[in-house]
């Protein structure tokens, strides 16, 4: 069994995004996704700091430092891009106009709860950014994350132990081991990494899994 690496995980998500969708990507792993969108598909990337139609990171000599994304990397604008202020940008998000948001997560629970903003440890300053707005507002929320912690603990859980970002909103989880749908009956395995079996996945997962029908 070979878990997907970070690039493969991003590519796995990218392949499932249809042309024409408006997509917001969270910090970390999700920011790799645009590189793997098939070139023949127009997908429009939204950045919550006021950009629609975000293009790739520019070569150094072409950087306009007035253009950044939510991760605060310099970006480019595609033809068809638009710029707007923060209240308008989060109006798009909260109003359900973003087709898809892909967020990293500490934990996702079988009822669709997501925890990705705070580990409740006093030694880290809490920071939420736009994660709660995106979780509550996007038409679909997908999580992209390692299946387990470095210590081998399952991040796919019956119930989140960390403080919630939003309740009952995750539709699908992409991990380095599998793709899971969140259904009224809990997690359903949609796909497995090469060489991974349902039984092996279950043994690494604290929540109950079921097979896709």
């Amino acid at each position: 069994m070979k878990p997907l690496n970070r690039s493969e995980m991003a590519a796995r998500v990218a392949g499932d995004i249809p042309e024409g969708w408006y997509v917001n990507l969270g910090l970390g792993l999700p920011t790799l996704i645009p590189d793997y969108i098939p070139k023949d598909r127009e997908v429009v990337f939204h950045s919550e700091n006021g950009v629609l139609g975000m293009g790739p990171v520019p070569p150094k000599h072409e950087i306009d430092t007035w253009l950044i994304n939510a991760t605060k990397q310099n970006i480019t604008l595609l033809k068809g891009a638009s710029l707007f202020h923060h209240a308008d940008s989060f109006g798009m998000i909260r109003g359900g106009h973003i087709d898809l948001c892909v967020l990293g997560a500490y934990e996702v629970a079988q009822n669709g709860d997501i925890a990705n903003w705070s580990t409740s440890q006093n030694d880290v300053i809490p920071a939420v950014g736009g994660a709660m707005d995106l979780s509550a507002g996007a038409k679909r929320l997908w999580a992209l994350m390692e299946h387990t912690t470095k210590d081998g603990l399952s991040r796919i859980v019956e119930r989140c132990s960390y403080p919630l970002t939003a309740a009952g909103v995750v539709k699908r989880v992409y991990t380095n081991l599998a793709v899971l749908d969140v259904t009224p009956r809990g997690f359903e395995v949609v796909d497995l990494a090469p060489g991974m079996t349902f039984e092996a996945l279950q043994s690494l997962t604290s929540a109950q899994l079921s097979r896709s029908e």
């Binding site: 796995r12 392949g15 499932d16 995004i17 249809p18 042309e19 024409g20 969708w21 408006y22 070139k39 023949d40 598909r41 127009e42 429009v44 939204h46 629609l52 139609g53 604008l77 033809k79 068809g80 891009a81 638009s82 710029l83 707007f84 209240a87 989060f90 109006g91 798009m92 998000i93 909260r94 109003g95 359900g96 106009h97 973003i98 087709d99 507002g137 793709v179 949609v190 796909d191």
Partner: protein, 249 residues
């Protein structure tokens, strides 16, 4: 692997572009009929414009030949000076008007109103704009000082903040928005002209199906990202119409 979510984005129009072999976003439709396709009986329709300026006359004209009935029209005016809205009232297919200023009302509206055949909800102009914006921005309700202590707040919940009384108002969401723009591209980015902007940008945000008539089409990339007023994300269909300028007021 290969589970596809393809086609789930009902709001977005894409097409296969033969020369490039790409699947591209293209919200342009051929004509008014195609633009108005699928409007259903009982639809709530946001109608852009302040008076006739920015009011999408040709889309309205197309609605005259449509078969959807029992419509609710949301519009700042009742059709004063408009060539098409009074004719739409005359068809008897409008059940309700939500409006801030239905005066002077054109004869068909006046008659339907007096005979109780059309319902009228009067909403203060700023509350109307804010209720529509709220719908577009995912705000189900908000408080406003407007109309507190007046007839138009009757039956509405009120609440004090810092000693002043405010009225709770609800988001006004719609099935369809009919919008007039000055320039549009195939992604649905819009720019307006003069005071033709008015209700159009907030209405474009607040409907399940946003239909735009534009005077001019622009190539993708021609509209300056800094000056786009309505980003394409809010728009479903764009039809180019050589509509005349508004008449002299």
């Amino acid at each position: 692997m290969g589970v596809s979510c393809h086609g789930a984005g009902k709001r977005v129009k894409t097409r296969f572009d033969e020369p490039t072999g790409y699947f591209v976003i293209d919200k342009r439709v051929r004509n008014i009929e195609a633009a108005l396709e699928g409007i259903k009986d009982g639809a709530v329709i946001l109608l852009g414009g302040f008076g006739v300026v920015g009011q999408p006359q040709e889309l309205l004209g197309g609605l005259l030949h449509h078969d959807a009935r029992d419509l609710t029209i949301v519009s700042n005016n009742a059709g004063f000076g408009s060539p098409s809205l009074p004719l739409l009232f005359a068809t008897g297919r409008v059940a309700k008007l939500i409006c801030s200023f239905p005066r002077p009302a054109p004869p068909p509206f006046e008659e339907l109103y007096r005979s109780g055949k059309i319902a009228l909800e009067i909403v203060p102009q700023g509350t109307l704009a804010e209720r529509i914006r709220a719908a577009g921005c995912g705000i189900p309700a908000f408080y406003t000082p407007t109309a507190a202590g007046t007839e138009l707040a009757r039956g509405k919940e009120t609440r004090e903040f810092k000693g002043r009384t405010y009225v709770m108002e609800h988001a006004l969401h719609a099935d369809v928005a009919l919008i007039q723009a000055w320039r549009a591209d195939r992604w649905g980015n819009l720019i307006y002209r003069g005071t033709g902007r008015n209700f159009n940008p907030v209405m474009a945000m607040a409907a399940d199906l946003t239909i735009v008539q534009t005077r001019h089409l622009a190539e993708l990339g021609e509209l300056d990202p800094e000056t786009v007023v309505t980003p394409g994300i809010f728009v479903d269909r764009v039809v180019q119409i050589d509509s005349p300028d508004p008449p002299q007021a």
